[in-house]
Structures are given as structure tokens and as C-alpha cells.
């Protein structure tokens, strides 16, 4: 018997909670929001102007001059904006009759000239960071972005298709259950034009439906599970895909299914960022803001409390054969050592499953997480 209960991971699946999320630009820019301002999910709170491309040019080589000669041959200087085809550096050739020139390939700005090297930033599209979470700006990080506080329903996923270092994949859309069953697999045939702009929700999804969702410009996809070979397909899609349970054939867990069913048809934000090792990155998640009227009235008392290790606490299995199953801890419980099929001895606790109810299993403590 073990008296001390070590911490276990937790996943928030809450109908009402208050969250704070940093909304930051990838490079410094301008922040338009201010503390205390109410914002909608699609409101821009920060904007940056990343170059479409950074052109790196050896000025000595492109026109054949020495480094010492570069300053006197430059037609443009650091900080200058250039139009497409504008001359940046030139030198006379053929006894001064002609000039050898290097022209800007596109419009841009000269951001650096160091000795013989120049960096020319070609203008790209402005990059906007929107609030994503409808709520209030409670903090501003100058030139970086803001901190948004929001109240609403939250479902944290276990995996998202926005990988570290890649573009942020996030979207706002209306939750759309195509076939309401925790284990229903979404097929391409079920997707019609009204999928455009929606956050498609299903237990699983076929390869064809993943592709079709991209073609129809769905806002995002939230599924219980993905087949392992669909991971690369999801990463390649230009929309957020969030998985709530894991990889393989498994239905959406009862807690997630119940809440999503209640939220069907509501506007939600889907954030696909997934970088589990980075403590600054929040988990992939779906967030449904409370209606504005309810937000005004709500207080912390109405919120779903954070899950804690306690009798009747809801838990979810993290490892086969219980991966994704949801149950509760008994009224009185202690950890007991059990021998597993693999021949290991692990501290474990009895779990009363809720999917379906009435079943019990003794599950290693490290293979459970709190959910709620």
C-alpha cells in the first residue's frame, strides 16, 4: 500500500473555465491592442511585416568590385526601399560606355550592408496575429503581442498539426458534427460545400475526407484519433488538425464527446500548436467562448474547477489497453502494487469506468491522467 499519491498529468475538458493565452508575433512588429480592451476572435492584436524572402547578395561578386569599392558603387543605402528592377549597385564597364548593374529582383528594403554583403528583404504580406480567443486583453508585450483572457469551454487535445518551427495553424469556425457518434469515422462523401469555414468534428477521419476538408477550405478538424499514417497528411494540410485521444483506431473519449455534443453549432477557436517539450507552448486545443451576455455575469464560482486527485475524480487512461477510456477514482482508494502482463510491478489504483459504466480495472497510476 502506498499512502502518498504522486502527481499525474491533467487534461482540461471543461464546459466553463477561464484561460490566459499569449498571442505573439514570430518577429517583432506593432501591437494594436491595449489592456482592458474587449476583443473578438478575429480581431488583429499585432501585425508584423516579415519579408517574403531574404535575398543575400555578395556585392563584390555580383558586379566584380573589391570590398573597399563597394561604398562608392552603391546607388542605394541601408534602409532604402527599392522598387522592382531598381539599380542597387553599379560600376562602369567598357571604358565607361556601359554600366554593369545589380537590380532589385522585386520591391523590398535593404536591411543590411556589411562589408561586401547585402541583405535585401523582399516585401511579403503582412502577418497578423488575431486574438483567436474572444475575451479581454490583460497584458501587452511591446512589439511582440498580447495576453488574452477568455472564458468559455475548453477541450485540450493530445496532438496538433502545427509543428514546432512551422507556420501557426489556428482557425475560428462553427463546430460541425457530421455524424454524432464517438466512434463515427468521417468520410469524404459526407462533406459538402457547407464544410467551408467549419470546424469538422468526428471520432476518426478517412484519408479522402482529410483531403476533401482541405479542398473545401474547412477551418479545421478535431478528431478523437488519427491513423498513424495520416499524421504526415495532417501535417501537410494548411489547416489545424487536433487529436483528442491519440493514434490508432479509438473513439473519442466520453468526456470529450459529451462536451462537444453540447457545443455543436457554436463558434469556436481551434489551435493546432504542438510542442510538448516547450513549457511556453500551450497544448493543442478547442475553445468555445461564452456568449457575451453570460460572460458579463459569470464569475469564477461558475467555472469548472481544475481537476485534482480526489475520490470520484475523473481520470483517463494514457496507455493501452486503457488508452482513451474515462472513469472515476473510487470513494476510498490507495495505490497498491500490481504485477503487469509485461512482468513489471507498478503502483496502481482501481478505476470505475464510465464507458460503459459498471466495469472496473486496476490501472497503473502512471498510466492515468486527470480529466475535467
Amino acid at each position: 500500500m502506498i499512502e502518498f499519491l504522486p502527481q499525474i498529468p491533467e487534461t482540461r475538458v471543461a464546459s466553463a473555465t477561464r484561460i490566459r493565452r499569449e498571442r505573439l508575433l514570430p518577429i517583432p512588429g506593432q501591437v494594436s491592442g491595449a489592456i482592458g480592451i474587449r476583443i473578438g476572435a478575429q480581431d488583429v492584436i499585432a501585425r508584423a511585416y516579415p519579408p517574403k524572402m531574404r535575398r543575400a547578395v555578395s556585392l563584390t561578386r555580383v558586379i566584380g568590385v573589391t570590398e573597399a569599392d563597394v561604398p562608392k558603387r552603391l546607388v542605394k543605402q541601408v534602409g532604402d526601399q527599392v522598387e522592382a528592377r531598381e539599380i542597387i549597385i553599379a560600376k562602369p564597364i567598357n571604358f565607361g560606355v556601359q554600366r554593369l548593374v545589380y537590380r532589385a529582383p522585386e520591391a523590398g528594403q535593404i536591411t543590411a550592408i556589411q562589408g561586401s554583403w547585402m541583405i535585401l528583404d523582399l516585401y511579403g504580406q503582412p502577418y497578423d496575429v488575431c486574438a483567436l480567443y474572444r475575451g479581454t486583453i490583460v497584458g501587452v508585450l511591446p512589439r511582440q503581442g498580447g495576453l488574452v483572457e477568455a472564458q468559455g469551454a475548453l477541450i485540450q487535445g493530445v496532438w496538433g498539426s502545427s509543428a514546432p518551427g512551422g507556420p501557426a495553424k489556428e482557425a475560428v469556425g462553427v463546430i460541425k458534427w457530421i455524424s454524432k457518434a464517438a466512434d463515427a469515422v468521417l468520410d469524404a462523401n459526407a462533406l459538402e460545400a457547407d464544410a467551408r469555414g467549419a470546424i469538422l468534428v468526428a471520432g476518426g477521419i478517412t484519408d479522402a475526407a482529410l483531403q476533401r476538408a482541405g479542398e473545401l477550405q474547412a477551418s479545421g478538424i478535431l478528431v478523437g484519433s488519427l491513423a498513424p499514417e495520416q499524421r504526415q497528411q495532417a501535417l501537410a494540410l494548411n489547416l489545424p488538425v487536433v487529436v483528442t485521444e491519440g493514434f490508432g483506431e479509438m473513439p473519442m473519449s466520453a468526456s470529450v464527446f459529451e462536451l462537444l455534443t453540447a457545443l455543436n453549432g457554436q463558434e469556436a477557436a481551434l489551435n493546432g500548436r504542438y510542442d510538448p517539450r516547450n513549457p511556453r507552448v500551450t497544448r493543442p486545443e478547442l475553445f468555445v467562448p461564452l456568449a457575451a451576455s453570460r460572460m458579463l455575469q459569470s464569475d469564477q464560482g461558475a467555472e469548472t474547477p481544475s481537476p485534482k486527485v480526489a475520490p470520484r475524480a475523473r481520470v483517463r487512461g494514457l496507455c493501452a489497453p486503457y488508452l482513451g477510456r474515462v472513469g472515476v477514482l473510487p470513494d476510498e482508494f490507495v495505490l497498491k502494487w500490481i504485477a503487469t502482463e509485461a512482468g513489471t510491478y507498478l503502483p496502481a489504483v482501481q478505476v470505475e469506468w464510465q464507458d460503459p459504466p459498471g466495469e472496473h480495472d486496476t490501472v497503473p497510476w502512471t498510466n492515468l491522467e486527470l480529466i475535467g
Binding site: 547578395v57 567598357n94 561586401s116 491519440g246 497503473p364 491522467e369
Partner: protein, 591 residues
């Protein structure tokens, strides 16, 4: 001289698990009197590693009945007469994110490869390398026939990245400076184009004659650090100063930013070491103490570490982002599921194994409880080891073949795999030959002993050998010529010190497990048939004459394992035959 602390509390804060233990004197001998493992708490919603540390300490209090924290959750220090409290606290950590680097140098074969090797021995990832000698047209195309030249794709790639550190190398000391000036211009231009808050640090580890030029061009823009040349003379590789500087930056930029790190550091008077530094000290200690060539492996949840120590030289590689936990996703991307499937002894569905490994990456704290899941993880472990040991393939001065002791630490042990299963994993994946011992860091505390040694070396050594390391036994891996043609290649006779005699004929292509318990010794005589040799390793450790071996060896938790499969391990090409062969080897090895 100040009195050394006798009761020492230690913590190892990893990316997934936090281990806490207590060392004290028991009958005049330092022992680990209790240890716990809890979840690390660097990430949300906790965002404070001290929560996990305190949880571990509270578990330890429950386990030992000794109070270690006061009412304010501060450490009770020093130890009291009633036994509560401790004299010292030490800590190691591997919870920080790796540094991202770019290596830019003059020659791919010399400076860039050398610097890359140095970076790989630290908690850093090389995202991009530029070698001047292989860039087409060097730095972009040149003006020709009245036409202007073009941009440099390679520099543009550098400009598109956001590394933490740029490592500049090139030239031997006293060599030409002009190409390095050009490199400095490039780095300066790329840095100048970035926002000041995002500019990388620069380490220059090239021709020392160029330092002035490099500082002049880059110094005003970025934080530049000058260290000794990684290649001061042709053929002389000097990675130490570059490694040290990267480690300094790693501490400043990543380790000190771990949520709660400052509180951990405040508890530890001797500072907080990285887990790999501490584990390296352990490997070095074992190499010196027993005059062994040690290959120490740590298969962590977030990174994989290889250390090679022989008493005079130390070498290590840290593979960030490839691991048996979080890094399984990357491993699957790099080696593919089919390579992992070939090590499975039963007809598992590739999709199921693939899904299980991905789910383990999502939940690295989980412990598989089914045989098939542990077996799949060990199959992935084989491919991981085969993949990561490739980092040393281009180092002629280093071979894994001649190791006397292979030491395993990390997640596979924590997950509770049988020692025989893990020993077979090591034999399948590592190209170590000859006669060598295998030991395991059975409770995952060995790296922490490297930090304990700072406050009390004797305590660390005694606790390490008494309570951390478990000898699994001795492996016999002869080299067998493919043309041997004889069915029986080895005749093995074992004379245990306790009495009795065991004899076995080992056929080519098979394994033989001979029981010899922990602490037991036996005289072993092995006669090899035609085409059998023991390689350089056995020659050095003694007992080999021609193709025969005769010497006293130690037993262990596994015993003696004779591997007559030849090297490389002859895995059949056909899937079913592969499966049968792997099953056969598992039976033979008792795995």
C-alpha cells in the same frame, strides 16, 4: 578542512521524470536509503520544476519516515540529531530545451565536420551547416561576360533561420584570413538584418589570426565569443573550448530559463549540473577506477546520450530530439516503421505498432503493461541505437567495438523491461565485439551521483556501486568469418567458483545463455572453431590466445551470454524468416 556532508539529498530533474534520493551512512558505508520518481512539472499547468522536486521529497519522507522539509516547504538543513533533515542537496537537470545552432566554416571535411561533432557532444542541435568549399560559386554566382552575378542560396537559408548560436570555424592558426573576413561579413549582414532582440550569439572557433577581423565586423552587432581554434593544426582536433562555450550559452539561454530553476539552484550550493555532465563524470570515474573502456548510454525520454571514456579520453554525443519518449515521432520519421518491425518476434500489425509508438511519444510518462508494447518499444530502441551511434562513424579515432563495459541508463529500464530483453537489444544494435561486461543503472540514479561526487566523492562512489549499478553479466561476441562453414563454432566450458561444471557447444548463428548469478565468478574457457577471432578488445582485457579464451569472469542478473551470430547481426531479409529468427534469438537469450 571542512567536514564532508554525510546525509545528501539529490534530485535529477528530467524532461519527463524527476527523481529524488537520499544518501546516508549505514553501518559505516554510504548507501541510497530511499529514492522516488515523480512527474516533472516544467510545463503548464505547473510551470515550476520545484513542484515535482517537492513531490519527490514528500514521497521520500513517507518512504523513510524522515522529515526533510519544514512547515514552509523549505529544506531542513543541516541534519538534526533526531535524523530529520539533510547536510547537503545536489541537483542535475536535463529538462531544458536544446540550443539551436548553425555551423559555418571553410571546409566540410575538416572544420565544419569537427565543429559539428563538438556541437553534437552538447545539448545543442545543428540546424544548418555551410561549408565554403562546397558552395557552388562559393558565395553566390559572380559577374561574368558583362552580366551581374546572383544571390547565395546557402546564405539565404541561413538568413531564414533563427538560430540561438552561430558557430564560425575555419582555417588553421596562422593560415589565410581573407575567407574568414568574408564569412564574418556574411554573419554580420544576416545578424544586422534581424531585429536586435532576435540576433544569435556568435562563437568564433577558427584561425586565431582572424579574431580581430571577426570582432571588427560582428562585434558591434552581436555578442561574439572567441575560443581556441577547433582545428589549430592540420590533423589536430581541439573541440574542448568550443564545447565549453556552447555549454555556457546553453546554461544561460536555456537551463536558467527552466521554470523554477532559480529556486532549485538556490537549494544546491554546488550548482546545478546538466545530467549529461554528471553522467559523463560517472563514466569517467568507472573508466579510471577499473581501467576500462566504458561505453555509457542514456536513453532518455527527451534525448539520447552516448559517452565513451577510457581513462584518458572522454567523448560524448547528445542526440536531442531523437529519443525513446518524445523523440519517437522523429525516430519514426527518420527510420520508418518497417525497420522497427523487423525486430519483432510475432506478427504484430505495423499500424498498431506505429500507433502505439506515437502514443508513447504523446504520453512519455506512461509505462506499457503489455508484453507486445514493451517489445515494440525495445524494437524501436534497437533502431534508435543503430541510428544514433552513426554520429561517430566518421571519427577514425573511435570505435565502439572495443568496449570493456557497456553501461545502460534511461527509460527502457524505468519502464521495467527484463534485463535479458534489454541486453539482447544492446547486442543487436551496438557493434561491440569481444568480451565485455554489461551493467545497468537499475533505478536511474547514476547521473545524479556525478553531482553528489562534488560534495562528497566517497559517498557518490559507494552509493553508485552499491545501489545504482547492477551488473547484468558478461557478453562474449566473437568475430566469425562467414566462410567458417562449421555448424559448431564455439565450445564453452564454465567452472563456477561455487563448484560444478557447465559445457555447451554453440552453433553459428545462435546465442547461448549460461546462468551465473550476481556476485558469482567462474573460470570460462571458450575454444573457437575455424574462422573465429576475438578482436582487439579481448586482446587488451586478457585471456585470449589465438581463437581461444580462458579467464575468470563475473556473473550478473543475466549471466553469461555467448553470441555466435557474427557481426553485423545476420537478420534475414524475408519478413517471416526475420520474425522467426528474432523469436529464436529471444528464446535463446531468455528475453
Amino acid at each position: 578542512m571542512a567536514e564532508l556532508p554525510t546525509s545528501i539529498l539529490f534530485a535529477d530533474v528530467g524532461a519527463v521524470a524527476t527523481k529524488v534520493g537520499l544518501i546516508d551512512l549505514v553501518a559505516g558505508h554510504y548507501r541510497v536509503i530511499g529514492a522516488t520518481r515523480s512527474m516533472s512539472t516544467a510545463s503548464a499547468p505547473y510551470e515550476d520544476i520545484m513542484l515535482g522536486v517537492r513531490q519527490g521529497i514528500m514521497q521520500l519522507e513517507a518512504l523513510t519516515g524522515r522529515r526533510l522539509l519544514d512547515a514552509q516547504n523549505a529544506l531542513l538543513r543541516p541534519a538534526r540529531l533526531d535524523g530529520d533533515g539533510v547536510d547537503a542537496f545536489t541537483a542535475v537537470t536535463s529538462a531544458a530545451l536544446p540550443l539551436h545552432t548553425v555551423v559555418i566554416g571553410l571546409s566540410r571535411d575538416y572544420s565544419v565536420t569537427g565543429a559539428q561533432r563538438a556541437v553534437n557532444s552538447t545539448y545543442a542541435v545543428v540546424d544548418h551547416t555551410i561549408a565554403v568549399d562546397e558552395e557552388s560559386g562559393r558565395w553566390g554566382t559572380t559577374a561574368q561576360d558583362g552580366r551581374a552575378g546572383g544571390p547565395s542560396a546557402s546564405v539565404e537559408k541561413l538568413a531564414a533561420l533563427k538560430p540561438d548560436v552561430v558557430v564560425m570555424v575555419g582555417g588553421i592558426d596562422g593560415g589565410a584570413v581573407a575567407p574568414l573576413r568574408e564569412m564574418a561579413n556574411i554573419v554580420a549582414a544576416v545578424g544586422a538584418a534581424m531585429d536586435e532582440s532576435q540576433r544569435p550569439r556568435v562563437i568564433f572557433a577558427g584561425n586565431r589570426e582572424a579574431r580581430g577581423d571577426v570582432a571588427e565586423r560582428i562585434g558591434g552587432l552581436m555578442d561574439v565569443r572567441m575560443v581556441d581554434n577547433v582545428l589549430p593544426k592540420l590533423g589536430r582536433f581541439n573541440p574542448g573550448p568550443l564545447q565549453t562555450e556552447i555549454e555556457t550559452l546553453y546554461r544561460q539561454l536555456q537551463v536558467e530559463k527552466i521554470p523554477g530553476f532559480a529556486k532549485l539552484a538556490a537549494w544546491s550550493e554546488s550548482g546545478v549540473m546538466t545530467s549529461t555532465d554528471a553522467y559523463t563524470r560517472v563514466a569517467d570515474y568507472l573508466a579510471r577506477r577499473y581501467q576500462l573502456r566504458v561505453l555509457a548510454l542514456d536513453l532518455g525520454a527527451a534525448a539520447t546520450t552516448l559517452i565513451r571514456a577510457d581513462g584518458t579520453r572522454l567523448k560524448r554525443a547528445i542526440l536531442e530530439e531523437l529519443s525513446i519518449g518524445y523523440g519517437l515521432e522523429q525516430l519514426l520519421d527518420q527510420v520508418g516503421i518497417q525497420k522497427i518491425m523487423r525486430w519483432l518476434p510475432a506478427p504484430f500489425e505495423a499500424n498498431e505498432v506505429h500507433a502505439q509508438l506515437l502514443n508513447q511519444a504523446l504520453h512519455p510518462t506512461a509505462t506499457p503493461t503489455r508484453w507486445q508494447d514493451l517489445t515494440a518499444l525495445n524494437a524501436a530502441g534497437r533502431e534508435l541505437l543503430m541510428h544514433v551511434t552513426q554520429v561517430w562513424r566518421d571519427d577514425p579515432a573511435l570505435t565502439l567495438m572495443d568496449s570493456d563495459l557497456v553501461l545502460l541508463s534511461g527509460a527502457p529500464i524505468a519502464r521495467g523491461s527484463k534485463p535479458t530483453a534489454l541486453l539482447l537489444m544492446l547486442l543487436d544494435a551496438l557493434d561491440v565485439r569481444g568480451i565485455f561486461s554489461i551493467a545497468a543503472d537499475s533505478v536511474g540514479l547514476a547521473p545524479a551521483m556525478g553531482a553528489v561526487a562534488i560534495v562528497n566523492p566517497e559517498a557518490a562512489a559507494q552509493a553508485l556501486e552499491s545501489d545504482c549499478l547492477v551488473t547484468w553479466g558478461t557478453a562474449f561476441v566473437p568475430e566469425i568469418s562467414a566462410r567458417s562453414g562449421e555448424p559448431v563454432v564455439l565450445n564453452v566450458q564454465v567452472l563456477p567458483a561455487r563448484g560444478g561444471r557447465l559445457e555447451a557447444d554453440v552453433k553459428f548463428g545462435s546465442l547461448e545463455l549460461i546462468p551465473l548469478g550476481e556476485g558469482e565468478k567462474a573460470n570460462v574457457e571458450i575454444r573457437g572453431g575455424r574462422g573465429v577471432s576475438w578482436g582487439k578488445s579481448a586482446g587488451i582485457s586478457g585471456g585470449v590466445k589465438g581463437n581461444e579464451f580462458k579467464r575468470e569472469v563475473q556473473g550478473g542478473a543475466v549471466g553469461l551470454l555467448v553470441d555466435a551470430r557474427g557481426r553485423p547481426v545476420p537478420l534475414p531479409d524475408h519478413t517471416e524468416r526475420q520474425r522467426d529468427k528474432v523469436q529464436e534469438w529471444m528464446w535463446e537469450a531468455g528475453a
